[in-house]
């Protein structure tokens, strides 16, 4: 490894790993559903960055990146968006049932 310790792919890989770690911590240990949902989005963001890193590392034949992981990430983002929308709807309904702030109603 050269003196400049990180190339871009390694840097983003590490960032992705940190996001995955933070997100996993939040999903497992946080109390409220809203926070856990946000943690899930961090976790997802970390995984998507790793896909980007994979795209850069897998570039061959003169391309600057492998397009397949990027296509996968777009699908992944759509899926994560849908998941978030579904969860938000449920949290909102739960808040209506509780008559107060839903974010306090985790378990």
């Amino acid at each position: 490894m050269s003196l400049a310790p990180f190339d871009a792919a390694t840097l983003f890989g590490l960032m992705g790993a940190i996001l995955v770690g933070l997100g996993l911590y939040g999903v497992v240990l946080l109390e409220s559903f809203l926070r856990r949902l946000l943690a899930f989005n961090l976790l997802g963001g970390g995984v998507f960055i790793l896909f980007g890193v994979v795209a850069r590392r897998g570039a061959g034949a003169g391309f600057s990146g492998d397009p397949v992981p990027q296509a996968l990430v777009i699908t992944g983002i759509v899926v994560a968006f849908c998941a978030t929308a579904l969860a938000i709807t449920l949290i909102e309904r739960l808040g209506e049932e509780d008559g107060d702030d839903a974010s306090g109603g985790g378990s």
């Binding site: 992981p69 996968l72 998941a83 579904l86 969860a87 449920l90 739960l94 049932e97």
Partner: protein, 499 residues
């Protein structure tokens, strides 16, 4: 198997139909008049059953898998659909379970035109499509999308009645499921980074004793275990499955949790090099054994029927994970082993028996207005057919002969004895005894004559009782299949021809 040799086989179009028929059904639901919704959904499920049986017939007759290349593109560029023996069997099993569930669910969710029946029937067909895609998919990312479709269709069913408890149960289920699928996706990223392909057939040819593959499969298995409710990640299951309407619980417990299990099965038996898989499979077996014991013990302590049945699901899913150590530890080709057949039989027997059990639990609730087990005296007089259904389903859950549950557990015991693995024998035997304990807690009061004659709260609908009874009978009938490894289940397995 060489991925480059894949081509669409005759009859491959059926695989496309398996996924599109339920989706077309969903579109039709929203086009027809509200009072025709149930008929259209039932027709779509019957068509799906026809497709699934045709696929099974073709795979069995040709003793070769059906393949369809989407758009004619070869993997790794394109996506393949492939029905091998076990996929065809499970697809037919799911299709068979769905029809009685639909018959049972007719008219249960309020008047036509309201929101709840629309949600239920849409989600039921969406679950059908997602399960078929899981059974047929060959691409790991395609399977991820299918898993998410399955989750998104299953979660609304949990909170269908909109009460506070079910909303919380649904959210908790969603959190577990989403965390599980992100872990799965992380594994997909690692596999793509290491191998540059996500096609299972292509990966099986490339696989080696590789650290990246082990890490990826480990992450994916953890994610899938959360979705399958493997102990100790089972905490979401009992409130979710007990709170859903009975018809929905039947589908969730019988089929939805099996989707993620099926993918885990494929990862371990198709992707991992056998010598690496053996060590990890013991760990999965230990979790499975713990699930059998803890799930059964929790079921023994429940005061309400639906929670008891839900905890019994935790226990019965535990047996499925014993397939990993028993199937991989024998040293023989895993797909021809007794354990492989035992796992498939256990999965089917549990699906039939558990769907029947949840549907019967719903009928009990309607007959006497509650599901407190302590007050079941005289149930046999009030709802004889329902109690018969519960008895037959219980025979299979306990593993008494003749039943699918007996065959599955007998084959598992045979496999465990064959490998000299007496500790699994202990678990299987203890699980059977505990299961007997919890089902007799239901059946003994139900068969006790009442102190004073009681009346039904609601009139009985014979077709609904018959639907539950048909599923319980199916659980018994598969016990008459031969007690030997089943050649159909080995058809077209990826590793069968690979070194």
């Amino acid at each position: 198997m060489n991925a480059a040799m894949l081509a669409t086989t005759p009859g491959g179009g059926l695989l496309v139909a398996a996924i599109t028929v339920p989706v077309i059904g969903i579109l039709l639901l929203w086009l027809v008049r509200p009072r025709d919704v149930e008929t259209v959904a039932l027709a779509a499920l019957l068509a799906n059953l026809g497709v699934a049986l045709a696929v099974l017939e073709k795979v069995a007759a040709g003793a070769a898998p059906l393949v369809y290349l989407i758009g004619g593109w070869q993997p790794p560029l394109g996506l393949a659909l492939r029905a091998d023996g076990i996929a065809a069997v499970f697809m037919a099993m799911a299709a068979i379970v769905l029809v009685p569930v639909a018959v049972y669910a007719r008219g249960q969710f309020g008047a036509p035109g309201e929101r709840r029946p629309m949600v239920f029937w849409t989600m039921l067909l969406a679950i059908t499509a997602a399960l078929n895609l899981i059974f047929l998919g060959e691409d790991l990312f395609n399977l991820y999308v299918a898993l998410e479709l399955l989750t998104f269709a299953a979660v609304p069913l949990v909170s269908l009645d909109g009460s506070r408890e079910t909303l919380k149960a649904a959210l908790r289920y969603l959190v577990f499921a989403l965390a599980g699928s992100v872990l799965y996706l992380l594994g997909v990223a690692i596999i793509y980074g290491a191998y540059g392909t996500l096609d299972l057939g292509g990966l099986a040819a490339l696989r080696g004793p590789d650290g990246a593959l082990l890490v990826a499969v480990g992450l994916m298995t953890a994610g899938l275990a959360a979705k399958t409710a493997l102990f100790p990640l089972h905490l979401w299951l009992p409130p979710a499955h007990a709170g859903a309407p009975p018809a929905a619980s039947a589908v969730l417990s019988a089929l939805v949790v099996k989707g993620s299990f099926f993918i885990a099965l494929r990862l371990w038996f198709d992707l991992l090099p056998p010598e690496r898989a053996v060590a990890g499979s013991t760990l999965l077996g230990v979790f499975g054994a713990a699930a059998v014991v803890v799930g059964s013990a929790m079921a023994l302590r429940q005061a309400r029927l639906k929670l008891l049945v839900a905890y019994s699901t935790v226990a019965q899913l535990g047996y499925l994970f014993l397939v990993f150590p028993l199937g991989l530890g024998s040293g023989a080709a895993p797909f021809e082993s007794t354990a492989w057949t035992a796992g498939a039989l256990q999965l089917m027997a549990h699906a039939f028996a558990k769907a029947a059990m949840f549907m019967a639990a719903g009928l009990v609730y309607e007959a006497i207005g509650h599901d407190r087990i302590a007050e079941f005296r005289g149930l046999g007089r009030i709802a004889p057919l329902t109690v018969l259904t519960m008895t037959l389903a219980s025979i299979s859950l306990m593993g008494l002969p003749p039943s699918g549950g007996f065959s599955a557990k007998w084959l598992m015991l045979t496999a465990a004895f064959g490998e000299g693995a007496w500790w699994w024998v202990l678990v299987i035997a203890a699980g059977g005894l505990l299961a007997a304990g919890y089902v007799f807690r239901i059946l003994v009061p139900a068969f006790t004559p009442p102190e004073e004659p009681a009346a039904r709260k609601k009139p009985v609908v014979v077709t609904r009782e018959a639907a539950a009874l048909a599923l319980a009978l199916a659980a018994i009938l598969i016990g008459f299949l031969p007690l030997a490894p089943w050649p159909l289940l080995a058809v077209g397995r990826i590793a069968a021809g690979a070194p």
